[in-house]
Amino acid sequence: MTGEIILTYAIAISLLVGSIFALVGAIGLLKFNDSMTRLHAPTKVGTVGIGAFLLASMLYSFTYGEGSMHELLIMAFLFVTAPISANFMAKVNIHRRACDTPPEPPRDDTWSTLNVPEEDKHMEGDSAKPSSTAG
């Protein structure tokens, strides 16, 4: 019986920790005023926030139900996909020149996002401005 009480407290604490981190992520998203720094708050703090929620879900299912391991899969897929979406947002920022220009790479010509293919060289300089030729 005491085991169940301890687990109930563990579930409550996990939920609380998860909510705090989710809240901090949301505050960061609102507070930062630059597109690159804004990327940091939700993508990271979110992983631990969601991780704590999933831990609570697992503990609950093992305490009161049949037990569930789906949460491990959710966690694994989240850890694999979160960096890719963050990487794409960063690439869009670089491409639109919405952030400070990154320093040149020491051993190569340029960053792959800023690399302009040979056949598109005549359009160089247009990529920073919103395109007016569409349609």
Partner: protein, 165 residues
Amino acid sequence: MNAFRWLLPHPLLTLILAVVWTLLQNEVSAGMVVFGIILGVIIPWVTSAWWPEPPKSFHLGRMITYSIMVIWDIMVANVEVAWIVLTKPNAKLKPAWIVVPLELKQPEAITILAGTITLTPGTVSADLSDEGHSLLVHVLHTDDPDAVRDDIKSRYERRLKEIFA
């Protein structure tokens, strides 16, 4: 050995697919494990054309210790970033670009390094140079960008080199 390679082009992928399938069922039964293994054999075999050169060696044990270390780092750094979000005014924030010269060559290793950097709060891997020799990392707040770069190289890249050594 060749027959083994032909049947199982990516043994680890086979294992992962079987485990994921079993976890999806949410209960362990012999039939589902067998079906997971069948999927784990067929899927890598059908898709092997799109992954022609798997890494020559991969130390699973080192990868597991690496994962545990990264999970610990994520939790510690999450608290640090939460602290920065709540207490640092925007004007005092010092974001910076960091260029990490890469010694890793395998695309799989670079992908894991970039993913690790993004998952550890405070740093996002933003871009790769056109020939793949450097990684562009954005840092939320740092007083010493060089120290962050050295930390990434000594803490993560060195271990990844051992995993794929």
